[in-house]
Symmetry: C2
Subunit: 366 residues, 2 copies
């Protein structure tokens, strides 16, 4: 998608053919910078420190990370070690282990001399498939948005209001995004949309990334604090909620950014449809009950106590600084995800179409 008038992807094989470029998402929205990953350690760090984030993009970065490891040492030991190391960086998103498994399954049966090229091809294929999947999700989601617009008493001249949580936009994938893909498709097809962007504390991916994406594409949007969504639904100002997912059980329970569950409850309470954009790669067929079975990553309490922003002071350089929001005399606790049970979900928007949130329906993705 577009940044400063130029078309970008979040991750790419660089022209040298041996290193990988990524957009540094920790600097957005104030600075647009890219990083080079030259080793699997670089890739692991990029995931761990959230230079790249978003379940699909984490998966693709993992795949390229394994490729980088194989370039240095194509032995079984090297591959198994790198896979384990990359897998340990973020525990919740299933895409990471899925992509690592896929690359290693592809290369391990091959002679060492062929592993390098095979890994590169497989990583590129995973990236390309991710783009296709997102485009398909966008297409099916667009149909939902068109239906909402047509049924709306406001008429098609008024924008429909979509609320989204965190960033499941193109920055969370290679291109297009999952939850935002239908919005991009809608905007490009001339359907009027307005997006309520949850800021998404503690890391503010909504305010920093989703708002940035939408601004770059010229899509009407408004940032709100995470507390405000319930009020907007009570006031009839939300026509649909669309979010992403980091891991989905076969029963249709969705693990997504912390706070998603609260929006699902409010949507249910106000009869607002609640959609989850679901690439097949986020499905974990081994799990049923999301609340008891999905490991929830607990991140640093500093993400709660400290925040990054641009200094607002006259006559001073507009520096990016970290500030602390409360003193060390108070501790913090920082779970990164919560689980939204299938009973709260209207439907899944997948690459093969709209699916009901139950095991029978999800089987169509297997």
């Amino acid at each position: 998608m577009i940044i400063n008038g130029k078309d970008w992807r979040t991750i790419w094989l660089r022209e040298d053919g041996v290193s990988v470029g990524v957009i540094d998402q920790t600097k957005l929205p104030y600075e647009f910078k890219t990083c080079v990953l030259r080793s699997s350690e670089d890739a692991a760090k990029a995931i761990k420190y959230m230079i790249v984030r978003g379940a699909p993009l984490i998966g693709v970065t993992g795949a390229y990370g394994l490729m980088l490891a194989i370039q240095k040492d194509s032995s079984d030991t090297s591959i198994i070690y790198a896979k384990k190391h990359l897998e340990s960086t973020r525990p919740t998103a299933i895409n990471l282990s899925w992509a690592l498994e896929r690359v290693s399954k592809k290369v391990l049966p091959l002679p060492q001399t062929q592993r390098r090229d095979a890994a590169r091809e497989e990583a590129a294929l995973i990236a390309q498939e991710d783009i296709s999947v997102c485009e398909s999700i966008g297409g099916y989601g667009l149909q939902i948005l068109k239906d909402i617009s047509e049924r709306s008493s406001k008429g098609t001249q008024e924008p429909i209001n979509i609320l989204t949580h965190c960033n499941a936009g193109w920055l969370a994938t290679v291109d297009w995004g999952t939850a935002l893909a239908p919005i991009y498709k809608a905007h490009r097809s001339g359907l009027k949309v307005h997006v309520w962007v949850d800021e998404t504390r503690p890391r503010n991916q909504g305010a920093a990334l989703t708002a940035f994406e939408l601004a770059c594409e010229g899509i009407s949007h408004t940032v709100i604090v995470d507390n405000a969504g319930g009020y907007l639904m009570q006031m009839g100002k939300v026509d649909a909620v669309i979010v992403g997912t980091d891991r989905t059980t076969r029963a249709g329970d969705v693990c997504n950014k912390i706070g998603t569950y609260l929006k699902a409850l409010a949507a249910k309470d106000n009869s607002v449809p609640f959609y989850v954009a679901l690439p097949k790669s986020t499905l974990d067929w081994t799990l049923i009950d999301g609340i008891t079975d999905i490991p929830i990553e607990i991140r640093s309490e500093k993400e709660v106590s400290n925040i990054r922003g641009q200094l607002i002071q006259e006559d001073k350089k507009k520096e990016i600084v970290d500030v602390s929001l409360f003193p060390l005399s108070s501790r913090a606790f920082n779970p990164a995800f919560d689980v939204t049970q299938s009973r709260l979900i209207t439907a899944f928007i997948t690459e093969i179409g709209i699916l009901e949130p139950n095991e029978n329906s999800l089987r169509r993705l297997s």
Copy 2:
């Protein structure tokens, strides 16, 4: 309550007998400063810019503001003008108009020469009554917490976990607080409590004020982002939610800080009892349906886009600065309150005891 080992109230008549002292709550938790109010304009500004905040304290500040106006000019015109001006500062909390009405009703029938003393007495009485009301709420709430602790399978040796939103502590009142009064009473009576403190975006009154209050009193607490409460309830880590209210309809619908509604939904969904600490002064007998009838204050979008904190930079002065969280290319929307309908409330903790959330029961307060 205690700050730095000394007992404080949030508002007091100063020794000169003609000016009013308040704690400047915009500087907490990093700086403890007090302000002097010498005119009703000072009082109006203190309310408007949230130097004082919290429905009960806003009411008391309004009463003292009217006293300050009468000290300068005790004519009917002056009183009516000051009342109107003070009332316009914050539209949602009912306590403000309630307290202003009470003082003006007291003084307007009197000859001008007696109005000054009468206003001072009435304001002091309102402040004193607020303290008594909060203490009573604390006492009744303590009984609830004791019952929870005794019924708990964890036994009384494990702390009970209370989640609270925003600041309905003593800083929101004259002393003791509403939602936090039961927690202070519990702590002083030796009952083990731990408080989950919602940071409460956009103004972070939880992280800045509630955490500060609890730290000063030595009460175990943990700050969480507003998104995290649902997860904690799913995990069984919340034994009760207690919040305050800015305005309550006679049907028992509660208007409180934005985001309260989302926590009430999560509490209901996880069978966690949801209590509202309700001083009689927040009841608006003229209203029934909270969602359609209560005016919701929309505050500046800068409260969403900008945040205040202490610079974290080595070798630099630990300045308090404002930073912006996203560029001006994105707009924000900032409703300050939402409505939690009575169907989501377990009970009201009031100064006359525990009341069911319905009109019949609330009538006992009239």
